[in-house]
């Protein structure tokens, strides 16, 4: 019997993020290629025509620097672009312009907030560099051909490489979530994973009794669930092999989400040999203190700091503060609304339930909320409810209509006569009718059955389409019943 081995999972990530620029990294072609007809966002530079010369996009450099600063990286004074040579139809030049020996940034970290809500774990960033994206291939097995669309070719990317500091698939998924949140806060990228704006590769190994294990690589994980699932599958495979006394072979797998399997990718006949060398078409990039200082000043408050400020500054529960700060656009929206209607918990309640539901149903991104329903509109509904002019349920309906039509809540209330019936005389008339229609209930009440009052109040509310104040309705009914 072998003694139990002490096994520890070791994961490192390599993450590619498309930068939110208008144009490509080295040419003026639009980087907004999603859904465009194939090969319509191309020019001699990104088609790899001989003699065409790349010119670096300043905005891409600034967004990459912002990402580096947000991750507390060191930014060397000088960085250099290099050619990474490989032959593949998604890369018409035969090389990708990337960075190798002198990357834009290195030695950063992200303090991962663990699920307990109080502790953090530091995950080190080894390097962060700029490079260009490749084209898109459409495989067509029936004809044995591959179709090539070069619209994506040359779109700016940053590659972020972590140290192998992650210890479980859950931790890896959590890291990607928090990295995404940080980059979205800094407006570096929208990081829409469904559109491939954030793509994750991982290497995973099992250390046995503290000895490092053999790594395998997993590619094509394009959702948080995929990251966690794929790594779990591979973790289990490696652990079982080692427990049986077997070994792990270095290998590259692709995640197949339909089959829930990691599938081996074609074994390479020989080790990759990219023959990097400095690109003679591009001059070095020098980054001085003044530049990074200006960009640092443009960075927003970090999600964690913002959460603390919302919790402490507005007296919100930790739960509310956490949900409100997952997206910067929501936190901004919350603060704009509270500035107009200083009841933070009330604003938070409406945002987290009603507004989130409407956003979800409309499949709208958080950053589009303020355009659809300006905070002033939400506040108008809150005021109408607060002043007792409409009840809470009517408020929800008005909010929904304001969200859908873009109309003023006040106008919706006016037009649809949704205002509360506060007129006691009018309610008394209606109460009279309810009592006449339900003589048995009225007798039961007089005989001492208090519970039927609830039923009669319900009838009265129905007659007013919910516009009566339930307390006033009960009072009016009691008065009527006592008098009859």
């Amino acid at each position: 019997m072998r003694e139990t081995l002490k096994m520890e999972t070791v994961i490192g990530l390599e993450i590619h993020v498309q930068l939110a620029t208008r144009t490509k990294l080295f040419c003026g072609c639009s980087a907004d290629y999603f859904g465009a007809p194939p090969n319509t966002h191309c020019c001699p530079v990104c088609l790899g025509m001989p003699g065409a010369l790349p010119v670096l996009n300043e905005r891409a450099v600034e967004l990459a620097l912002k990402a580096a600063l947000a991750l507390d990286c060191e930014i060397p004074e000088r960085s250099v672009f290099a050619r990474k040579q490989y032959f593949y139809p998604d890369l018409p030049k035969g090389y990708q312009i990337s960075q190798y020996e002198a990357p834009l940034a290195r030695d950063g970290h992200l303090d991962l907030e663990l699920p307990d809500g109080t502790t953090t774990k530091r995950v080190r960033i080894r390097r962060l560099h700029l490079e260009e994206d490749a084209g898109r291939l459409v495989h067509d097995p029936p004809t044995g051909r591959t179709l090539v669309d070069l619209n994506r070719c040359g779109v700016p990317l940053i590659e972020i490489v972590t140290e192998p500091d992650l210890r479980s698939p859950e931790e890896a998924a959590l890291f990607v979530k928090q990295l995404r949140r940080l980059l979205r806060y800094a407006d570096v990228s929208r990081c829409d994973m469904e559109r491939g704006e954030l793509r994750v590769d991982a290497n995973i190994s099992i250390a046995v009794d503290g000895r490092p294990g053999t790594k395998t690589e997993i590619k094509n994980m394009n959702s948080f669930q995929a990251i966690e699932k794929a790594l779990k599958v591979e973790e289990t495979r490696q652990r079982m092999a080692l427990e049986r006394g077997g070994t792990v072979q270095p290998q590259t797998f692709g995640w197949n989400p339909e089959a829930g399997r990691v599938e081996p990718q074609r074994a390479k006949e020989e080790a990759e040999d990219y023959r990097y060398f400095p690109d003679p078409d591009l001059v070095p990039l020098l980054i001085d203190e003044a530049w990074t200082r200006r960009l640092r000043a443009e960075l927003p408050e970090r999600p964690r700091e913002r959460r603390r400020r919302l919790q402490e500054g507005y007296g919100l529960p930790a739960y509310d503060a956490r949900l409100l700060t997952e997206e910067r656009a929501i936190a901004d929206y919350f603060e704009r609304a509270v500035a107009l209607f200083p009841k933070p918990k009330e604003v938070s309640n409406w945002l987290l339930t009603e507004v989130f539901r409407l956003l979800d149903e409309a499949k709208l991104a958080p950053e589009d909320l303020a355009g659809r329903l300006p905070p002033e509109r939400l506040v108008e509904v809150l005021r109408l409810v607060d002043e007792g002019r409409i009840n809470r349920n009517t408020g929800k309906a008005v909010l929904e209509e304001a969200f859908r039509t873009g109309r003023e809540p006040e106008a919706i209330v006016e037009e649809r006569k949704l205002g509360r019936i506060a007129d006691e005389a009018r309610l008394a008339e209606l109460a009279e009718r309810v009592i006449q229609e339900h003589p048995q209930a009225a007798r039961d009440f007089k005989a001492g059955n208090e519970r039927v009052l609830g039923f009669l109040v319900g009838q009265l509310m129905a007659r007013t389409q919910g516009r009566a104040d339930p307390k006033l309705a009960a009072k009016v009914l009691r008065d009527k019943l006592a008098a009859s």
Binding site: T23, P38, P44, V138
Partner: protein
């Protein structure tokens, strides 16, 4: 001197198919190029900063302003095969 295997490996990386004669010819030619670099290695460069570029220029940057791309027809005009606006190539496996 370069080995025959070295030449074949370089050819593989460059996706070239060489005849036996060519392998021998390039082995000699590439070998001579390497000899030139051997000569350069005789210089003491321990005090010299590595150079990434021949020009004393840095930070040539462009504003992030879109410029017109070329029409699809023009982008595809040198392609040996095309389909539905795509370049068409023999099937390749996933990288």
């Amino acid at each position: 001197m370069l080995s025959r295997e070295d030449v074949l490996r370089i050819a593989r990386l460059a996706k070239l198919k060489l005849t036996d004669d060519e392998v021998e010819r390039y082995r000699a030619q590439l070998g001579r190029i390497l000899e030139h670099f051997k000569k350069l290695e005789e210089l003491d460069t321990s005090d010299v900063e590595p150079m990434a570029h021949g020009l004393e220029v840095a930070n040539v940057l462009r504003a992030d302003e879109p410029r017109p791309s070329v029409p699809q027809e023009e982008a595809l005009q040198n392609a040996p095969a095309r389909r539905d606006g795509y370049f068409e190539v023999p099937q390749v496996l996933e990288r």
